[in-house]
């Protein structure tokens, strides 16, 4: 054995010994930072030693060549099995052939020591060139350290060549880095949520940490230098981000030792092992901490990193396609959005101060709850991200915001605008990370990064919620791919929703119960949502809708596991949803909920089944109402629940409910039925019992009265005369001729909204019409008429009769353009044709009115001739009402 060989062998043994010691130290609790620094140092010793031998062998190598550590090795961060980037730098005095053997021997020794070395030999001048096809080399040069050789040569590289390269190519490098990062993220489906994430390359992984440090460095060297200190991605550079980096370092060391190679996949078994070893938990883990608990930490840290890198990429110079995407014509365009903030290069920037108004001192917009909520509304509406500085200011302002935040309807209006914005998911993610969402809805905190650990749930519970909201908004525009047809179909249903905000609020809250250990998370989520609904002061209809949607959010998925062509399945499901609006919301919710479990969970097959169940249930709700009626001897739970509220009146209640369609009992709470029953009991003093509930959006009027001719027509006429546009209505009667009609309507001219005093006059005039003291024609003759709006969608009038839907009535379905007074025109025509309305179900989908009536004439179904005559009369009435 030659002297050189024995020295090399000694160095190799020392290195391997050192590796064992480093591993031992790690397993005894050394930090990730210490471990990667120790390996880097051990390799330094080996490389320096090997090179010294070569210089001893050939003195010409003392000058003109320098050994430079670059890339991760240049940062002094070498994970246990990472490869080692080594640059042999020449300045031209030595030819490559003169150094070839020495380099080969050093590389060989390192390979033989078990090190995966990635060597590069370059002349100084070559390092200054930027090759777009090999931008990775220029990037790796950003992290450099001299190991051995010609110090003067290295100094030239460090102080002249690299700064010159970075300054000249700053924009190109930033754009390329952004492009490479986006491509890498796209490879991982643009999400950090994976069942078995690769902690180096996934979004939120260590590669993103490096991108952050390179971006910071590049910002500091260009002509637009921000004055930031160039960072090498040290863990101590700032609190939360630093903690995330240290966590990822530790996990990567753990994975390398576990796999005994450069394998960074955090697979299922590795997650169990990391949880059992408490990796990165600093003793904070409870004794029963399992892999799900541990993964929660991983996702929180990865989210922090992913956020930082997205922000940095967003602030990098924009390329043309992205400028176009953001609708910004020029890179430097500044758009003031509202008071307190503006948009610069697609990012929202807070103003320094805003005028306090009326002599009050100017104040920080970050501390003004209205401005902060306006900022998130703008994000949701425009898709612009929040600038880094604005985020920092919001974080600092949280305690002040918390003290100044007011709840109630104003907050609901803000929240509703955020939730219904096209980019609500992104705005909510930002609110969540900054803690603003938890400030508004503390109930959300329990599901922060909560992991459902099975092979199916891809996202954490909070992210699942945001993906669900993204999916719903995605239905608003045309899609491509296998789901396009179904997205368009459900998209139409979404556009028809009168109150989309309620659907989104239910979506936001639907899984909050998972944060608590209960068997029934849907019920728990509903209970938790009650507090939110009370704080936002939603009215009883809105609260009821949100609560039932949350409580029933799994029902449609469950029904899909039954035979959806079986009438019993449809009937049972319809009994749970009760109203067409709730059904529409639940169908949309289920579509989005399935899609938000896993990217492949929603298939065209499932969407089709969902659609069929939706269609069958919708038809059931419209077409089976007249058949299922409450009997006098009914012993159902619903009847019991109503009777329980009226002690001692059980038989009177049974008599009142006798003959009402079941839908009347199903779509009302026992308390509402009790109130209607009590109104019925007051017939002796006044046989026209009205209950008016005003709300800024949709108001509600309920009429309880004995049945008589023209009742429905007069009521709809009175509402039309006041300019009220009926959105939904239903009319039911029992066996004894007691009618309960409910109308939900919007206030076209804002008469009731602008004049609180008019509420009483409104109810009085409706009462007079119903008692016959004021002819409805007189009221209608003074009717205000607004400027006729050109409809966005022209709806062709269609009249259909169905003689099979009911055993004793003829079903009439009218589909027409929704206009004020339409229902009055229809019901008046029905009355003039001698038809009795047994049941009426009135609904509006966007600009389409869909009104279903169960009719009899002289106590029987309509004949074919009567139907033909009625059809013509109705079409004429629709036409006249549209023209008037």
């Amino acid at each position: 054995m030659s002297t050189n060989e024995s020295t090399g062998s000694r160095m190799r043994e020392r290195y391997q010994q050192k590796m064992l010691e480093i591993r031992g130290a790690f397993e005894s609790g050394a930090s990730g930072a210490a471990t990667i620094a120790a390996r880097s140092k051990a390799i330094d010793e080996l490389a320096i030693g090997l090179w010294a031998e070569e210089v001893q062998r050939d003195r010409r190598l003392a000058t003109g060549i320098s050994l430079v550590a670059i890339g991760g090795y240049g940062r002094g961060q070498l994970f246990p099995y990472s490869d080692v980037d080594l640059l042999y730098l020449l300045d031209g005095r030595l030819a490559e052939k003169d150094v070839k053997d020495a380099i080969r021997r050093v590389n060989q020794e390192m390979w033989d020591s078990g090190i995966r070395i990635s060597p590069a030999t370059r002349k100084l001048a070559e390092c200054e060139r930027f090759d777009e096809e090999n931008a990775e080399f220029a990037v790796s040069l950003m992290d450099h350290r001299q190991l051995a050789g010609d110090a003067l040569l290295y100094r030239k590289l460090a102080t002249v060549t690299i700064p010159k390269l970075l300054q000249r190519e700053q924009k190109g490098l930033m754009a390329r880095l952004t492009e490479l990062t986006r491509a890498r993220h796209a490879k991982y489906g643009d999400t950090l949520f994976h069942l078995e994430p690769n902690i180096k390359d996934c979004p939120g992984g260590l590669r993103d940490v490096h991108v952050c440090s390179w971006m910071t460095l590049l910002r500091g060297v260009g002509p637009e230098a921000t004055g930031r200190v160039a960072s090498n991605g040290n863990a101590d550079e700032d609190g939360e981000f630093g903690k995330a980096v240290e966590f990822l370092w530790l996990v990567r060391c753990f994975l390398h030792y576990r796999h005994e190679r450069d394998d960074n996949s955090l697979d299922w078994q590795a997650q169990d092992a990391a949880a059992a070893a408490g990796i990165g938990m600093d003793g904070a883990a409870p004794p029963n901490a399992d892999a799900a608990y541990w993964m929660r930490f991983y996702f929180r840290h990865a989210r922090r990193v992913e956020r930082r890198v997205s922000q940095m990429m967003g602030e990098a110079p924009l390329d043309k396609p992205r400028l176009k995407l953001l609708g910004l014509r020029r890179e430097r365009r500044t758009e003031p959005l509202q008071q307190g903030f503006r948009v610069e290069r697609g990012r929202i920037v807070l103003d320094a101060l805003v005028d306090g108004g009326s002599g009050a001192p100017a104040h920080d917009p970050a501390q003004d709850p209205d401005i902060v909520l306006d900022v998130f509304e703008a994000m949701a509406r425009t898709g612009c991200a929040l600038g880094e500085e604005a985020e920092q200011r919001l974080l600092l302002a949280l305690p002040v915001l918390s003290a100044q935040l007011e709840e109630g309807p104003a907050l609901w209006q803000h929240l509703q605008r955020i939730l219904t914005g096209r980019h609500a998911g992104d705005a909510l993610r930002t609110m969540h990370v900054l803690g603003v969402l938890e400030l508004l809805i503390p109930e959300f905190h329990g599901i922060d990064a909560l992991v459902i650990r099975d092979a199916y749930h891809r996202y954490t519970v909070d992210e699942h919620t945001f993906v669900l909201i993204d999916t719903l908004h995605g239905l608003e525009s045309a899609q491509e791919g296998p789901m396009a047809e179904w997205a368009a179909q459900f998209g139409r249903v979404l556009r028809e929703l009168p109150h989309p905000g309620l659907l989104y609020l239910a979506a936001l809250m639907h899984d909050t119960g998972k944060g608590r250990s209960t068997d029934d998370h849907a019920k728990e989520s509903m209970t938790m949502a009650q507090g939110v609904l009370e704080r936002l002061e939603l009215d009883s209809y809105e609260s009821g809708m949100v609560s039932s949607l949350i409580a029933n959010h799994l029902e449609m998925s469950l029904a899909m596991r039954r035979d959806i062509f079986d009438r019993q399945t449809v009937r049972a499901f319809a009994g749970k949803v009760q109203t067409p609006e709730a059904l529409r919301m639940l169908a949309l919710f289920t579509y989005a909920d399935i899609n938000a479990v896993h990217p492949d969970a929603l298939t065209p097959w499932k969407a089709e089944n969902l659609w069929r169940l939706y269609m069958a249930t919708s038809n059931y709700l419209d077409r089976n109402v007249d058949e299922d009626r409450v009997g006098a001897q009914e012993e159902s739970e619903l009847v019991h629940r109503v009777s329980a509220l009226l002690p001692g009146q059980r038989s009177a209640v049974a008599e009142y409910l006798d003959g009402f369609p079941e839908r009347y009992v199903l779509t009302r709470t026992p308390e509402q039925i009790r109130a209607n029953f009590q109104r019925f009991q007051r017939f002796a003093e006044d046989s026209v019992q009205l209950d008016f509930r005003y709300a800024p959006g949709v108001s509600e009027l309920t009429l309880v009265t004995p049945d008589r001719a023209l009742l429905f027509a007069n009521m709809t006429g009175a509402l039309a005369a006041w300019g009220m546009n009926i959105v939904t209505a239903d009319a039911f009667s029992n066996r004894h001729g007691v009618v309960v009609d409910s109308f939900r309507f919007t206030d076209s001219f804002r008469t009731l909204e602008m004049n609180a005093s008019e509420h009483e006059a409104f109810v009085k005039s409706v009462h007079e019409v119903m008692t016959g003291t004021l002819p409805v024609e007189k009221l209608l003759s003074g009717r205000r008429r607004g400027r006729r709006k050109v409809p966005k969608v022209v709806v062709e009038s269609r009249i259909e009769f169905d003689d099979a839907a009911s055993s004793h009535s003829t079903l009439l379905e009218v589909v027409a353009q929704d206009t004020t007074g339409l229902l009055h025109a229809l019901s008046l025509t029905l009355a003039r044709q001698g038809c009795n309305i047994e049941v009426a179900l009135v609904d509006t989908e966007g600009e389409t009115a869909i009104d279903v009536f169960y009719l009899t004439r002289n106590g029987a179904k309509l004949s074919q001739d009567e139907e033909r005559e009625l059809r013509e009369a109705l079409l004429r009435a629709i036409e006249e009402n549209t023209r008037s």
């Binding site: 596991r561 039954r562 499932k606 069929r612 989908e845 869909i850």
Partner: protein, 112 residues
């Protein structure tokens, strides 16, 4: 070895799976499928619009069993999937020449 392909109603999938697991069959492939035989499609009306339902949703199970398990597996499937009405589905049986476990190259029934 025999291959069983069963086309059944989606609502019967859980029951069929449980029945097969009970007799010791655990490996199977399940595919979302559509089809119609004697149970023809039909037309649905929804809010004044007409939708034709030509192909009905089904699921297809594929499993390979030892020869002696064939009858028990078929009985398990038919018992669990039967409602007695048109549309309950069909079972197809074919012979399999070879099965190979990719991981360790095991062949024949041990690879099942």
């Amino acid at each position: 070895m025999q291959k069983i392909e069963a086309v059944i109603q989606p609502s019967k999938l859980d029951a069929v799976k449980d029945a097969l697991v009970e007799i010791g069959v655990e490996g199977m492939t399940i595919t979302e499928a559509r089809g119609h035989g004697r149970q023809k499609g039909h037309t649905e009306f929804y809010r004044g619009r007409e939708y034709s339902v030509d192909l009905l949703p089904k699921v297809k199970l594929e499993l390979v069993v030892k020869d002696e398990m064939l009858d028990r597996a078929i009985t398990a499937i038919t018992t669990a999937a039967r409602t007695g009405t048109i549309g309950d589905g069909k079972i197809f049986v074919s012979k399999i020449d070879e099965a190979i476990r990719i991981r360790n190259d095991e062949r024949g029934e041990v690879a099942l």
